[in-house]
């Protein structure tokens, strides 16, 4: 069923899905931590908007609560906490020189194509156009992992982890019109606790190896010395 026959709301959802995919792409290319956190905040806000839109399209009331939850949690609270952390850790000035941004970008596009290829059988399942947003959500998840693999900064890892959570939440909202309420709350609670723990860990890592560079964490290796 072509995009043209869709109602405006569904078209809006597709647009927002594309925007979310764009934000995870942008995150791949960022070298400054502060901007990375900012883009993550934008992604959170976009996600909450899509949840709100989906709520009134499918008129399921509990989606409004989860939209609000996502906005407050992933849109505002976590980005601010990360920002304050980066600033008082003094990391906002140093620039992480990405080794080969071009290759990472190409890998990102390859991932996008791959996840679409994988989700093909799902999409053909039913005429619902919104289904191919599942491919987008899988792409966001895989891009989040790629971000964690390519960056050396611990904060970047946290942001990558959170963007994976966003991708999952997006998939839940889009494909199944929201998980049951109990599960929503549970996931939100877990993400919150994870964020708090990340903060705690930054101080521990800082005190143990006085830098947040992940590659220096390799005392526990068994390779033949």
């Amino acid at each position: 069923m072509e995009i043209t026959q869709l109602s405006h709301y569904q078209q809006a959802i597709l647009l927002l899905a594309a925007l979310i995919a764009l934000t995870s792409f942008l995150m791949l290319g960022q070298s400054r931590l502060l901007r990375l956190v900012f883009i993550f905040a934008v992604q959170g806000i976009l996600l909450s908007i899509t949840t709100a839109l989906a709520a009134d399209v499918l008129d399921s009331p509990h989606l409004y609560i989860s939209a609000l939850l996502t906005l407050s949690l992933k849109g505002i609270f976590i980005p601010i906490m990360l920002q304050r952390l980066v600033i008082n850790m003094g990391l906002h000035r140093d620039m992480e020189t990405l080794r080969n941004p071009a290759r990472v970008m190409m890998a990102g596009t390859g991932l996008m194509v791959f996840s679409y290829y994988v989700c093909l059988p799902i999409v053909k399942l039913s005429p619902l156009i919104t289904l191919n947003t599942i491919a987008i959500s899988m792409a966001v998840v895989l891009l989040g992992m790629l971000l964690m693999i390519t960056r050396r900064q611990a904060v970047a890892h946290v942001v990558g982890f959170m963007s994976i959570e966003n991708g999952l939440f997006f998939a839940a909202v889009v494909s199944t019109y929201g998980m049951p309420m109990v599960v929503e709350l549970g996931i939100a609670f877990d993400v919150l606790v994870a964020a708090v723990l990340f903060g705690v860990f930054f101080f521990h890592i800082r005190s143990s190896i006085d830098s947040l560079d992940v590659d220096q964490l390799n005392r526990l290796s068994e390779v033949e010395k």
Partner: protein, 705 residues
Amino acid sequence: MSLFFAYLSVVAALVSGLAALATDKRSELDRLATSLLRRWPKLHARAQCVFSATHYAEYHRNSLFILLGVSGVSAVLASAMALFSGSVVTDTLPFGLPWLHWHIRFDALSAFFYLIIGLVLVAVSLFGPGYVREFEHGKHSLSVLGFFTGLFVAGMELVLLADDAFFFVIAWELMSVSSYFLVAFQHEQASNRRAAFLYLLMAVIGAISIILAYGVLAGFSGGLTFDQFRSVKLTPVWASVAFVLALIGFGMKAGLVPFHAWLPEAHPAAPSHISALMSGVMLKVAVYGFIRFTFDLLDEVYWQWGLVALLLGTASAVLGILYAMQQQNLKRLLAYSSVENIGIIFIALGLALIFFSSGQARLGTLGIIAALMHCLNHALFKSLLFLGAGAILHNTHEQSLENMGGLIHRMPKLSGIFLIGCLSISALPPFNGFVSEWLIFQTALQTGNLDSGVIRSLIPTASAVLALTSALAAGCFVNVYGVAFLGLPRSKHVASCHEVSHQGMLVGPAFLAVFCVLFGVFPTPLIETLNVVTGQLVGSTLPQVSALGWLWVSPVAKEVASYSPFLVLLGILVTVSACYQVFYLRSGRLESRRADTWDCGFGGLNARMQYTSTGFVMPFRRIFQPVFDIDERIEEQKSGPDGFHTQRLRYHLHVSDISWGYVYQPVARSVLGLSRWVSRIQTGNIRTYLAYSFFTLLILLWGIS
């Protein structure tokens, strides 16, 4: 009824094990006894003296070995009843998996091996108390030794009773684990620890291949009990796979050549009475497992199997005795000679397999009977020799032949018994070793009836090697007896030692020696009982055995071959007494005069001028040189300005087993190399770990779409 005694022997062994745990619990037992027996004053006093500090150790030690003795006696009774009645008793115990309880089966074959366990156990229980006193004030508590001995004996007996794969392997590995703890009993020496580790490693690999062999049968029969295995028909390919796995599994435990390296390490490490049990009985339980698998569970045998068993047996026999000769440590020598005797047993089994596969049922039965008889004989004289070695170790604290000598004057009774052991193991006529070896030769001599020319030419060569082995065995044990017991003592300890004080340490080996002579002189009754075993196992017997009366043995037929050990013994005794009469009594009773030995006039003969055991076996080392891994060097320490005169000459000789170089080290190196290569994936960098999980996901997704 026979099953009752079988259970009694297992329970007695377990109780002796548990009783051993009470070695250092004297005070609690004392309090318990006094409180319980308050009302009967007589018993009360008795308990007082039993649990008193001085006597407790003695009573406790004796009670352990009395329980083992009870287990041995009831084992002998059980086997006697089962063999004479020829009945098969089956039962199930409420242990094991919910749908597969432990199945028990006590038939003639298990009964025969029960007889072996029983006899050796009685001897060990007589020998034990005297020998174990030495360990009391040692570092290792007696409770560990007693507990695991009880478990070890119970494990062996349960293996013989098992009638389903699950219970068999449980009992099998119970036997291996408990003997591991016994080998590692004196674990302060690093060599004992290494021996124990190698022993358990080989036991594990052996057990797994046995499980897989049963797995093949279970795969096709759907169940795990031996009755289901017996009814299943296997294709030749699968039957051969099962046979090879069983040969590897049981061969590894029995000590066939490629897998024998653990045996000479483990047996000397264990206390002597345990090495007697291990060498005499545990190896036979492995042979029992092999016989049960090939002749009972597999319905059809092929001649290729027989050939493999024959070749492995011959290799084990000749290599075993060649390595035995090169050992200085007495217990290592006896362990290697066990490898030789196991080789001989597998030669007999190989012949039996070949004859069965070509339809000669009677000759096959002769082969099995020869193998079973050699199992019994070897159990008897090998335990006798190990107990003898233990007695020597107990009195002189010497294990190496280089420091022994002249023991015949200081320990006359023990040397007499040891001599009977040496004579039987060298397969000399009136003794039991000769009868089983003679039967094996008779089986080999019947190759005329086979059709394929190749086997007909291979079997004589194998039996020629067997003849070489028995001659080498005679040479080896002349060396052992000559160096250890005869001539002049080579060290202070040996010179000052005295006869074995504890009576039990003489009665035990003497008990075995009596049986060695008894089965040597009257083998026919034994072969008749073996007929019962083969009748149940393969359905055919040897009718002609006592054709010439019960004094004679004529395995195949009256005119083919016959041998009457009793008449041979009678002939020797008559001639000896005749010579004694004629040359001593009639010719003036000339007493022999004692004088100095002939020393070519130089004078001053001392112990160092005697032939040591290394010297004695030097010709064999030079002749069979490629078989050994010899490291022979002469270190010369020069002195003086330009190194003219030599300060000191040191001759260094070390003969080691080639199987270490060709079999064991390569395997160990490859495993360590592989693990070093694999450990590269644990790099320690979190981003590589994330990459692993990322690519696993991608590959799987790509795989399923």
